[in-house]
């Protein structure tokens, strides 16, 4: 048993600390939910810098209430990084936690409640026909762990800061305090691939010095088990816009004559993937670094839940069949985030769309380079007969090229992962294990993407401790957090702050 010292000097075991934290969470569940709800009430659309700035001020107040010193690091987009420090007198080691407070835009008309006015449900409805009724906050202060709070960023990732602060409060309520210097780096533009992060990391590298770094966001494994992830995938975001004319034309007077950009786009997109779900772009998989034997072994230890997931999500058959989800997220993907051309529904009219756009994300695994992958995809587009430009085409270009596509690179960064036997990874697994009911799921990589290579190339390998339920609907309507996951995150952070992994 490792001895833990309280502010008064008495020694306890980590188990006693965690028991105290659990008790604190039960007694203060209402306060935790209230602090998260207040935070969610500050709208945080990543595309609205002023909203992001209001969030930064809001969270600085939350931090200062606990004695953190805080500062804002401006970025060119006007969405600041917030850096905060809480020194621990006598501590010799430093923990840096990275998370973010911005959110994806709200999906108009798709939510069943106001995304910025959190509501509580005692079940997890799914689909239009389900029961979407809400429940009141409990008068007796008893919050069941299976209840869910619904709102934008409750799970991705305003819960991270609330859980860290809750851990500090829980320790202090027991007369204890963090045993490590704590630094927080809170991103305000993570949902737009953190364009300001590289410059900030270089400018403030000394301030960010730490012995260990944790990324606290994302979803735990679908089994609900506590999870540690040793890597993140990279990403490539781009748009393809097919252009066929200077103007939309009347479909009666010019149908059969004016080419339809929406149809052209559909034809082009259908060439990008085979019907078995694999990517048809030549060379797409060439640079994928295969998993090591020990990583394959780790994959096999992960619980297999495919049939339950298909049932829960209402999916009749996976896109790629015959392979485990864990294998699939260790492969790259190519995904249409969106497709738009002309008008549908009430806005539809009898026109031939002159342009149509697909927004695409590619998840990169270790070995793949974003730029080279983009070049391969453009080469594929050219092989379909398209002339590719990087700007809205001029009239002359339109008249010259019957098959014309505008390709726009939006963002890209590579994957990163630390080896399974990295000592810092193992010590984090031990801390998470101590704070929760084992077994902990250890994943060689998350399916998600964060630019953690930026930290890694500055000597700070990043290990992820995801804290939200897998079915939290992050990035879509009805985002929600199961309360048990909030309470568990408080315990995990309390363990990490109490016993510094050696």
């Amino acid at each position: 048993m490792t001895a833990i010292h309280t502010a008064g000097g008495q020694a306890d075991t980590l188990e006693q600390v965690i028991a105290g934290v659990h008790s604190y969470c039960r007694r203060n569940a209402g306060a935790l939910v209230a602090e998260l709800s207040d935070f969610v009430r500050v709208p945080n659309n990543v595309f609205e810098p002023e909203a992001i700035q209001r969030n930064a001020r809001h969270l600085e107040v939350m931090l200062e209430r606990r004695g953190f010193s805080t500062e804002q690091w401006p970025t060119p987009s006007g969405r600041p990084l917030v850096f905060a420090e809480l020194p621990a007198p006598g501590a010799s080691r430093t923990l840096l936690i990275y998370s973010h407070y911005d959110g994806v835009p709200v999906e108009e008309d798709a939510w069943h409640s106001n995304p910025y006015e959190p509501v509580l449900r005692d079940h997890a409805p799914l689909g239009a026909d389900d029961d979407w009724s809400t429940i009141s906050l409990p008068a007796n202060g008893v919050y069941q762990p299976e209840w869910r709070l619904y709102g934008r960023s409750v799970a991705d990732s305003k819960n991270a800061l609330v859980a860290v602060l809750g851990a500090i409060d829980a320790l202090r309520a027991q007369g204890r305090s963090p045993q490590v210097h704590l630094k927080l780096l809170l991103d305000g533009e993570e949902e737009e691939e953190s364009p300001g992060l590289p410059t900030a990391l270089t400018a403030h590298s000394e301030r960010l010095a730490a012995d260990l770094m944790i990324s606290a966001s994302g979803e735990t494994h679908q089994s609900g088990r506590p999870t540690v992830e040793l890597g993140m995938r990279g990403i490539l975001l781009f748009e393809l816009t097919v252009h066929t004319a200077l103007v939309d034309l009347h479909s009666g007077h010019f149908g059969n004559f004016a080419p339809n950009a929406a149809l052209r786009l559909a034809q082009l997109l259908s060439t990008l993937k085979h019907f078995d779900g694999t990517v048809a772009v030549q060379g797409f998989y060439d640079e994928v670094v295969p998993l090591s034997a020990s990583e394959r072994e780790a994959l096999n230890a992960i619980p297999q839940l495919e049939p339950q997931l298909l049932e829960r999500f209402g999916i009749a058959r996976p896109e790629v069949t015959g392979r485990l989800l864990q294998e699939l997220i260790n492969q790259p993907t190519l995904n249409m985030r969106g497709l738009q051309g002309g008008f549908v529904g009430a806005a539809a009219r009898n026109s031939i769309p002159r342009s149509a756009t697909a927004d695409i994300d590619v998840r990169l695994v270790k070995g793949m380079d974003p730029q080279r992958t983009f070049v391969r995809i453009l080469a594929h587009v050219e092989r379909q007969g398209y002339h590719v430009v990087d700007h809205p085409p001029t009239a002359e270009e339109l008249r010259a090229h019957p098959w014309l596509v505008q390709a726009t690179l939006k963002a890209g960064f590579r994957a990163e992962r630390v080896p399974l036997d990295e000592p810092r990874a193992q010590s984090i697994v031990r801390a998470v294990t101590a704070a929760t009911d084992p077994p902990v799921v250890v994943m060689p990589t998350s399916g998600g993407s964060l630019p953690i290579y930026l930290f890694a190339e500055r000597g700070l390998p990043v290990i992820s401790v995801p804290i939200s339920n897998y079915d939290c609907n992050q990035h879509t309507a009805d985002e929600n957090l199961q309360l048990g996951f909030l309470f568990r995150a408080v315990a995990i952070f309390a363990a990490l702050l109490s016993r510094m992994p050696e």
Copy 2:
């Protein structure tokens, strides 16, 4: 020369009447533009019944000012048909003019001016790089015929009523008056395929009795020549929505696993047409009635402008090559009006869309049945492996069918055309010829669609007299009317009102 009688009894030739109308238009151009502009300032989105009702009241005032009796015929959607009558003392024959006053919804952000606040330009810009500057109303009251007025429904079709009333004003200013009983039927839901029209026609068949019926809307031939059309195509409007799951899923955590509805839709749509632009649906062309020898001859007499159109619209190559536009509009079409799934641009997020929708219009030519055509298209979809439903799928249906599409029939009606040698058609051609500079372009069918079969099956064959410039951008952004076309329409209606075609 046919003798025309003024109110005072003096006889003039039709040529003299038209000369007087031209002179009236020159002197009163400002008043014509002002009356059209005031009408356009009443927003007329077809999907907003209250806006349509405001338009109905506005146009009733316009009509009553000229001595029409008016009444509103309600429809289930709340968008009334307005019926108006202006008897001509001593006249023996009745002319019924059909047009509409609703408009398609405004294309957000695509207009270069407020669609409901008309502006004037002395040129016709095209494309984002062009010069979109406007001009002031001329202080000297001289309006050039090549100038254009920009606003929603300036060309489709608020100009029709303004031109009819302008013709009456122009006759009266010369001391003349209409020589036929005039009836107007003004539709408030034409842009949504006139669902209330069939019932209204049956309920009010006696009120609508007429010797001749004209449809006054649409675009003249691209040559700018005055045009008479002897038919309209039918239409079939439907939506296809591919569903793959109950919920959008995170593209990192579930890419390769959750099927992407946008990709599926693209794959499905790309099967609907061959790369040569023809429709790949089995049996699609089976029932097309071939053109008669005389109709083929009429097609050959139509001016050929394909190279100029391609240049003007910035199109490098027509969808179907090697055939004249006039032939192409005598063939059926299948056109993606719109395509939407997930999110693009600023709204994009890293999700896998669970559903994606295509909105499609099919233009039907003589012989094709809307319902049978729809059935053929659904059979094609089924041959691609899809299970077709007519409702949003239940969770059970989603779990059971890996390829699932929801098909929604929105509207459909068949084509109609009168034979070239129909005497009423020939007499209208003569009136239009008298009012304008010949030659008049006579087209066996318009590319556009109107439910004129409803009138035809009640013994009122419909002949179309389109009055707007072909490049008026109807149904899309920057809709505009060339002023010369407004003045010419006044002259055409003055001729039709002055000399009843025998």
